[in-house]
């Protein structure tokens, strides 16, 4: 080889050696005084400020309970956390604590991928009385407690009071009260009609400059596909283990959503969706004032304050209206959880951390940082009055109400969610007719569920 080639090869070899010897190691960076502690690997889904919040909680734990009991928690952010946790669990090398979403209680629980926690909870004096029922119940599956909440959610109506007041005269002449939010779906429609503003541009085309209410893009979250809840219907009958997509309430809900592209035009709907980029960006139509009302969670307060603080005093929150007379305080409550995958080698230590996060002071600190409501039944005065969302009381009330609904407690909820999302997308693009689409999905999903049950029973028999 030529001399210069030899030289370059030599340099590369030396460089490689340096990386090998001095490069970063994959093992956790445990501080020297904690090297003999039990190391708990904790995988979380969050990034950015939400990640920093949980990092604070982890640091607090490591400095207090962790130091006492010789436990050191190592936090790691993971993308596709549900899939990665499942494969790692199947591979026998799971994390000790996984921050998954509540539908995984049912999905992973039915696969036998989670460690039941009820005995540990009892030993830590954690009982149903400590939690709002909607969160406690959704943490159970087939008689076992599989998770404890980390941060919960509840959704309600956000409305722009300033725009209401600015259009007081118009609202009153339509027989509506500008000093209060709509209380029924019917009223929501009427408020929305009055507050929607059309403009005609130079070419004579009519555009929607401001919309009263618009469902948000279904890809953003499952609240949209759970719309039937506000129509008094459910999509899954947990007791009968059947899908109920052809229930009249479900059909009415989807037909109500069809109203929007019909009235405003598919182009308008699509434009509103694509221009926003995400519910938490500064282009969110509610924040820009081009949408007067929306269905959202408590965290919106944080985003508004961050991206458009001039709007801070313009908005207010109320329970989202329903279509059934007498049905009040309906909300949908998904939540983030902490679970212990099967195969964890330090179960009691992992649970110590989970129990710590569920202490009232710690939980309230975390939920305030994430700008969410609390999953606990007891809420402190400080939480209610110093929360970044001044309307947190509304969310607290909603999450405690008997009409607070869990996510679909169905082992194939993920697939069902996918199908329903596709239907909503099609309805909002006026490409799909709700009634036949729901009927077709009902048949398909019910068949899939029965297949799943058959496979489950077969596996149980094989295991015995």
């Amino acid at each position: 080889m030529k001399r210069i080639s030899r030289f370059i090869l030599g340099v590369m070899a030396v460089g490689a050696l340096c990386v090998l010897i001095f490069g970063p190691r994959p093992e956790p960076a445990v501080p020297p005084d904690r090297e003999r502690d039990v190391v708990i690997h904790y995988w979380e889904k969050w990034l950015g400020p939400e990640y920093e919040a949980i990092q604070q909680v982890v640091d607090d734990f490591n400095d207090s309970v962790g130091r006492e009991k010789h436990i050191y928690v190592e936090l790691m952010s993971m993308s596709d956390i549900d899939q990665k946790t499942l494969v790692a669990t199947a591979g026998g090398v799971p994390p000790d604590v996984a921050g998954l979403w509540d539908p995984m209680v049912v999905q992973f629980g039915s696969l036998g991928a989670l460690v039941p926690l009820e005995d540990l909870a009892k030993a830590h004096h954690i009982t149903a009385a400590d939690y709002k029922p909607v969160y406690w119940n959704a943490s159970h599956w087939a008689g076992h407690l599989y998770a404890l909440p980390s941060t919960p959610a509840a959704v309600a109506l956000f409305y722009n009071r300033r725009i209401f007041q600015e259009n007081a005269a118009k609202l009153r002449s339509a027989g509506l009260d500008p000093d209060r939010p709509p209380q029924t779906i019917d009223e929501l429609d009427r408020y929305s009609d009055v507050l929607t503003v059309y403009v005609t541009d130079a070419h004579g085309n009519r555009h929607v400059q401001r919309v009263g209410y618009l469902p948000m893009p279904p890809e953003w979250d499952w609240y949209v596909t759970s719309m039937p809840l506000w129509f008094g219907a459910e999509e899954w009958d947990a007791r009968g283990r059947r899908f109920t997509l052809t229930d009249p309430g479900v059909i009415r809900a989807f037909e109500w959503m069809e109203r929007f592209p019909r009235k405003l035009g598919v182009a308008t709907v699509s434009e509103f969706f694509t221009s926003q980029g995400g519910f938490n960006t500064a282009q969110n139509s509610f924040m820009l004032g081009t949408q007067v009302m929306e269905l959202q969670g408590p965290w919106m307060a944080n985003y508004i304050h961050h991206d458009n603080p001039s709007m801070d005093h313009d908005w207010a929150v109320a329970p989202f209206p329903t279509a059934v007379p007498g049905l009040k305080n309906v909300t949908y409550c998904p939540f983030d959880t902490l679970m212990i995958p099967r195969g964890c080698k330090h179960i009691p230590e992992a649970f110590e951390f989970i129990a710590y996060v569920n202490r009232q002071d710690v939980m309230e600190k975390l939920c305030m940082l994430h700008c969410k409501n609390s999953p606990l039944s007891k809420v402190s005065w400080n939480f209610l009055h110093h929360h970044p969302n001044p309307y947190i009381g509304v969310f607290e009330e909603l999450a405690s109400s008997p009409n607070a609904h869990m996510t679909m407690q169905c082992p194939i909820a993920q697939e069902a969610g996918g199908e329903l999302t596709a239907i909503v997308q099609g309805v909002l693009a006026l490409e799909v007719d709700p009634k036949p689409a729901l009927a077709a999905a009902q048949v398909r999903l019910q068949a899939r569920y029965e297949e799943f049950e058959k496979a489950l029973n077969r596996r149980m028999r094989a295991a015995n």
Binding site: M1, S5, I8, L9, M12, A16, V19, L20, G23, P24, R25, P26, E27, L47, M76, S77, M78, S79, K84, V87, A88, A90, G91, G92, V93, G278
Partner: protein, 287 residues
């Protein structure tokens, strides 16, 4: 006989075609470097410019030291796997190839054909049960496989069909007289292998080492399946997760990362050009 004019035009068109083709090959890479040195605003500029106003070498620093990218860690992981794979493959394949080339024994032919035919088995057929085997090994033996990089380099210590084939072809070209002479002098079979054949095989061994390194550096499906913890990710896998994780893609940083990933391979190529090209040519010829 062709006229001078005909010949002139023929070579002009050939040159033109070659230049166009080479431009098509090079332009994407030049664009990659150009983008990697642009600022965030210059990326979206229209019309696109080739040489940025200010050379943002900082993009490289950002790509390496970003909190969510663990570039140095990934490099180290990839290097460990690559080095172990190169040593393992070269050594074990040479041993096996020697057996196929220089030792006459019953059943040698059929076994060789069997080995060649394994090259046709698609990896997906093996990857699912291999995962299951590694899970079982982890549960029933004290050695953990899936939480580590072992599944990626241990199999290469048992020979790779491609390398065995290459080396065996080479070994058969070494005259038997050499080994005969050594045998008469009292050298054992292993001695012949170690002291005579191997030193003569440096070119072929370099090809194997080089190709194995290239394969390990770029391997993606293996790491995707077998590496369970992000701290063990290799460069390919790490960059892929980075790319898929970001909502708004910082193209200049991603291009900087790409340039860094290509560089070692490119340098190796320029040093060992002949080895490379010979190696590839031999696969085609003897196949």
């Amino acid at each position: 006989m062709k006229s001078v004019r005909e010949k002139f035009w023929a070579s002009v068109t050939t040159y033109a075609a070659l230049v166009v083709i080479c431009a098509l090959a090079m332009i994407p890479l030049l664009w990659m470097v150009s983008t990697s040195l642009k600022s965030d605003s210059e990326i979206v500029e229209s019309p696109p410019r080739w040489i940025p106003d200010k050379l943002m070498w900082d993009n490289y620093r950002l790509a390496i030291s970003s909190e969510w990218a663990h570039f140095p860690l990934w490099t180290r992981n990839t290097l460990i796997i690559a080095v172990l794979a190169v040593i393992g493959t070269t050594f074990s394949s040479a041993v096996v190839a020697y057996g196929f080339a220089k030792i006459r024994f019953r059943g040698r032919g059929p076994l060789f054909t069997l080995m060649l035919s394994t090259m046709m088995i698609p990896f997906p057929v093996l990857m699912v049960p291999l995962f299951g085997i590694f899970v079982w090994l982890g549960a029933h033996t004290p050695i953990q496989w899936l939480g580590t990089a072992k599944p990626l380099w241990v199999p290469s210590w048992f020979g790779s069909a491609f390398s065995i084939f290459l080396l065996r072809q080479f070994f058969t070209t070494i005259p038997d007289e050499l080994s005969e002479a050594a045998r008469i002098d009292g050298c054992s079979v292993w001695g012949i292998f170690w002291r005579i054949i191997l030193p003569l095989s440096r070119p072929a061994l370099s090809v194997v080492a080089l190709f194995t390194f290239m394969w390990a550096w770029r391997d993606f499906l293996g790491p995707l399946i077998f590496l369970q913890r992000p701290t063990q990710y290799t460069l390919s896998l790490g960059l892929q997760t980075l790319q898929s994780q970001h909502g708004s893609t910082p193209w200049n940083q991603l291009m900087a990362a790409s340039v860094l990933v290509i560089l070692p391979v490119l340098v190796l190529f320029f040093i060992a050009q002949k080895t490379f090209i010979e190696g590839i040519a031999t696969t085609g010829m003897k196949g």
